[in-house]
Subunit: 278 residues, 2 copies
Amino acid sequence: MEPGTVESRVHEAMHRLTAAEKRVARGLLANYPTIGFAPVAEFSRQSGASAATALRFVAQLGYGSYPEFQRALRQELEERVKSPLQRGLARPPAPGRDDQFLDRFFHQAVGNLHATARRIPSSEFEAVCARIADGKGACHLFGGRFTDAIAAYTEAHLRLIRPGVRRLDGRASSRNDQLLDVKPGDTAIVFDVRRYDPQLVATAASLAARRVFVVLVTDAWISPVSRHAKIVLPCETGTDRTWDANLVLFATMEALIARTTELCWASASNRMGLGEPS
Amino acid sequence: MEPGTVESRVHEAMHRLTAAEKRVARGLLANYPTIGFAPVAEFSRQSGASAATALRFVAQLGYGSYPEFQRALRQELEERVKSPLQRGLARPPAPGRDDQFLDRFFHQAVGNLHATARRIPSSEFEAVCARIADGKGACHLFGGRFTDAIAAYTEAHLRLIRPGVRRLDGRASSRNDQLLDVKPGDTAIVFDVRRYDPQLVATAASLAARRVFVVLVTDAWISPVSRHAKIVLPCETGTDRTWDANLVLFATMEALIARTTELCWASASNRMGLGEPS
DNA sequence: TAACCTCTGTACCAGTTGTTCCGGAAATGT
DNA sequence: ACATTTCCGGAACAACTGGTACAGAGGTTA
């Protein structure tokens, strides 16, 4: 029998699997390796497939029988338990192939996350969350070409936990109709990353002139919007590729959403009961 | 059944065990818990006892049958393998210092990223990127209440590297005007996470019926859309908070964007160098 | 639309497993 | 040393598991 862990075999064989067999594969990877120790009936049922399909699946992996498959699983588990330090992420970085793309990309993302956690002072982060949570004044969000989607995501969540949340089109500059119901004491969250958008700066300037508390979420090089911002959350977006990774901005906003939800849990749960979609 | 891990039960029951039963107990503790997943014959042989003795042993532990004993063992292992994700959350019980929030949140995100990299076979990921990069057929994106923002972000990027990218309103179900210019051979990327949206399923079904290649980006529990999907990219979204973290979906799409950009660029230069048709 | 092919679940068979029973061995007390 | 009790393992039995053949469903092509 060829070498390789069961998990690696699943990945390798995935392409030649049929639809139902893939469901079984995903089911195995989902709770790996425990479900593999169950009898075929339970193993297949958990993936919503029939026992026969599960059998064909293990055959595709190269095992002669289901017990043989389980034996391999046991040996593998034994290896992992015997080396207490190898636990977790110590997987051999097999080079050469491009099929490691996801691994490499995520690895880099992890680096960015750590760098960002170091760069953002928790006092700044907390201040933003607290301000949004107290619910005083409206909360306006807007971003640039790509970051607008992040603004939209944040808006969708904040709407559930407090009133007065709205997203305005930052690229339409400082059009008056947008700024009509902006009042002093409001909060604005601006997203701007490299290739900084001049129109965002203009809009932010207008808001700042109206005594709006401006929060800027930007990259490590800091958007010029910072001139008008009370608080800046700089995120590490470094990557060696064509575009920078906005992933960390997204992560920061999701952390902000979670934290803000914690801070005003009472009013949030009130709204969740009412604001469910159709 | 009374509480307690299998291992603790062994220790607790040790005194009332007979000589041969104790050998079995020691054998189990020696390579715990792997040997327990073997059939009784092998399990007992490894301790130099008979099968009958091993059966009496598990009866002494309080289990009604050998399969029941194995089931308990599996559940226990499942808890242990899930714990690494909970380790990031094991810290928070100290609520006095909340200034670690960002650190904790990002730490958990890192765990989710690793889990996702393990769960998504690279062949699946590559298949999606290749299909989008080749530019044949249109590419439709849509998502649910929150994930719609991720669809929008992806759309904004894909528009730059290939034609025929558009986002449709997945929550408007399968309205005909949306499906008018959908052709067989097109590709659709569907986003759906827990609290799965029935309308997304409906839309995906309509697309699949029209021979559209459906790609599903979902969470670890797998949206029912998977029934109509050719490829599924399951992302780990686990968190102990009110909402799951869609961060990993975002990360996966950003990786997809980066990879697809690479592929487009490579194929472009290939055409120039080799003059390869089709 | 119709024919074809692949895929998938059901039904059934065979093999193995778990379980029990009982004879004998070992140990203990008299 | 004998009797009694406890314990152990081999063997028979029954339940269940894994394996396979088959037919229907779904999708693809002409």
